[in-house]
């Protein structure tokens, strides 16, 4: 019997038992839909984490001083005074894979503008820092070289700070504010950046020239709390990190086998850390969803076994008029396959639809990837063949004489 006829016969027999076919497919429909939806949710959360981390900047490398030990007692990481301004200049001069670099001096405190006040953190940075972290200024200007040299009392403020200090009719640029009683002029307003990777408000920040914060607010000279560096390209992140490590080790006379008094973190490492957790989640979700797919497959097997028993006489008759075992096997296998593929198709539609619904209603970050649809669909196919085989084989092995007289 040719394939087209087989196909028609299988389709017709499914059509004769519409409700039963639909209920049988339900398992596969739910399985495929949940695989697609779960993968979409997992993929979506991974993408959003990646997005947020990439909000850190482009090709970012961070260097921190390490912790110091005083009589075996560790102080907080970053508290060691092991990074100095000379190190910074040496990195700039000797590491070809480094594009931008900027020291960071952290401070914070009370900010007063007129009758309003707000508490925020202040970062002292070079102008380059804005390039490293892709920070854009919405209005006003960035720092000039003179600002850095003179330790000018100027600052660029984030949206949250501006909202809390000024009413909506006041242009913050040009306004005078006081940070820890030191008067500053606002020279720029940052573009809104939203939430960071850890849920922190990236707009609740004030940037000032590094020298201003370092000298006027921290009272420090040489020691640097943190260095932000960007590599020339994504591929060069590793290389740049190695160059910096080598340079700093040479400058501080530390062999390759010792723990250095500084840490280098690259953006890639941070991304990997986060994506590995969300990968675990994806595997977990997909695993649970696949179990429902397998349960759906067992449902198909169950119904096909019932169908074979019910249609024993039909099988006997088909054999009596010339169907070979192979023809019967194909007929029932195709029926199982049609059930699972049709279920897969409906399930895929449901999966995509429900993912879109999640986006619309819950506002979850969801990404339906084409590979998840292909995966779920081919899984449904395999389930169909696997669970359809046994009933089909049982039908094909029937002895025509006995099948014809089956009551």
């Amino acid at each position: 019997m040719n394939l087209l006829n087989l196909f028609i016969i299988a389709l017709r027999s499914l059509n004769k038992n519409k409700i039963r076919s639909l209920l049988t497919m339900l398992g596969i429909i739910i399985g495929v839909a949940s695989v697609i939806a779960m993968l979409a949710i997992g993929q979506g959360s991974r993408d959003s984490i990646e997005n947020q981390i990439s909000g850190l900047g482009s090709n970012v490398i961070m260097v921190f001083p390490g912790a110091t030990f005083r009589g075996g007692v560790a102080t907080a990481a970053g508290s060691a005074q092991s990074l100095e301004m000379d190190d910074l200049e040496a990195i700039r001069a000797n590491c070809p894979s480094v594009k931008y670099l900027s020291p960071v001096a952290r401070s914070g405190g009370q900010i007063i503008a007129g009758s309003n006040n707000w508490n925020s953190s202040i970062r002292g940075v070079y102008n380059e820092y804005l390039d490293i972290r892709n920070i854009e200024v919405e209005s006003g200007s960035r720092f000039s070289e003179m600002d850095e040299k003179r330790a000018s009392k100027v600052c660029i403020i984030g949206q949250t700070v501006a909202e809390n200090l000024f009413d909506e009719y006041t242009d913050p640029v040009g306004q005078r504010i006081r940070i820890n009683k030191i008067p500053f002029t606002v020279i720029g307003l940052l573009k809104e950046k939203g939430q960071g990777a850890m849920g922190e408000d990236q707009d609740d920040i004030i940037y000032a020239p590094f020298s201003t914060v370092q000298r006027r607010m921290r009272g420090a000279r040489q020691n640097i709390q943190q260095i932000f560096i960007s590599a020339v390209s994504e591929e060069k992140i590793e290389l740049a990190s190695e160059e910096i490590d080598e340079l700093l080790r040479t400058r501080k006379n530390i062999s390759m086998y010792e723990d250095p008094p500084f840490h280098i973190r690259t953006q890639t490492e941070i991304v990997e850390m986060f994506t590995s957790t969300s990968n675990t989640m994806i595997v977990l979700l997909a695993g649970i969803a696949s179990i429902s797919l397998i349960v759906g497959g067992i449902g198909i097997m169950n119904i096909m076994l019932v169908s074979v028993t019910e249609r024993t006489r039909e099988i006997g008759l088909r054999m009596a008029v010339g169907a070979r075992s192979k023809d019967i096997l194909r007929q029932f296998l195709l029926e199982a396959l049609l059930l699972s593929l049709l279920g897969g198709l409906i399930g895929a539609a449901f999966g995509i639809l429900s993912s879109k619904l999640f986006v619309a209603i819950m506002g979850w970050p969801i990404t339906v990837s084409s590979y998840s649809v292909v995966l779920a669909f081919s899984f449904a196919f395999i389930v169909g063949v696997f669970f359809g085989w046994y009933p089909a084989r049982k039908a094909a092995m029937l002895i025509p004489m006995d099948a014809l007289r089956y009551e």
Partner: protein, 256 residues
């Protein structure tokens, strides 16, 4: 008659045929050394009580089963030792079956039921299949019923669909297993009338029955007892099913 037989082609030739069912502890001898020929154009009724071996013989003749011993030639080909697939092919090309319980596919039109054997013959295209199915339905007088499902047909009509299905592949012999077993006398005669008509047109028929009055419509009766042929009768005074049907009391009276 004898002389005529020798001229006629042997459709079925059975030599020393035995069938033993191995039931573990006991061996059941269903057939013990059967010798039998069926010639082209014959209408043979195989008679016997249940357990006499007549159904076993019909299964072997219909290529549904193989003999334990002996030879079976169907249309000059030895089919005693064919494998499953070859037997399926023989059934598809050479045999037409009619069953006691019709065995029509439910929720499938009469026409499609008749088409079924041709579906398993890859040499026959769709158009030819439809044509042949329609022609055979005409032969049994069911042209107007071709699109009806079996549950919309009477028992007699269903059996006629089954007969059409047995004929559609142009078989060398039509085998019927108690074809009137589920029908009342009137309908039985009606079905036998069709068999006789077909036989007159040259179709070879072998029929298993235990009803004496049904066997009288055949040209030849073979009696089975305990796996052996106990008697063979050539019917001289063949009854005409159509005329017998007219002799029956009118349907209205029978209804009362």
């Amino acid at each position: 008659m004898k002389e005529q037989d020798q001229e006629r082609k042997k459709i079925i030739s059975v030599k020393n045929l035995s069938k033993i069912y191995d039931m573990g502890a006991v061996k059941v001898h269903a057939l013990r050394g059967i010798e039998m020929d069926i010639h082209e154009g014959e209408f043979t009724a195989i008679m016997g009580h249940s357990g006499s071996g007549k159904s076993t013989l019909l299964n072997i003749l219909g290529c549904l089963d193989v003999p334990t011993e002996g030879k079976y030639y169907l249309d000059d080909a030895d089919v005693s030792h064919l494998d499953k697939n070859q037997l399926a092919r023989m059934r598809n090309r050479k045999i037409g079956f009619v069953f006691q319980t019709y065995n029509l596919l439910p929720r499938t039109s009469a026409l499609e039921n008749v088409e079924l054997p041709l579906l398993y013959n890859p040499e026959i295209r769709r158009k030819e299949r439809k044509e042949r199915a329609m022609n055979t339905l005409e032969l049994v007088g069911l042209t107007d019923w071709s699109e009806h499902f079996p549950n919309q047909l009477s028992g007699g009509q269903q059996q006629r669909v089954a007969i059409a299905r047995a004929l559609v592949n142009d078989p060398v012999i039509m085998l019927a297993d108690e074809p009137t077993g589920n029908l009342d006398t009137r309908t039985s005669f009606g079905v036998m009338e069709i068999f006789q008509e077909l036989n007159r047109k040259g179709i070879t028929i072998a029929l298993v029955t235990h009803e004496m009055d049904i066997s009288k419509f055949a040209t030849r009766n073979i009696l089975f007892r305990d796996g052996r042929i106990s008697k063979e009768i050539i019917i001289k005074n063949i009854k005409n099913a159509g005329e017998e049907l007219k002799k029956l009391p009118p349907e209205d009276e029978e209804m009362e």
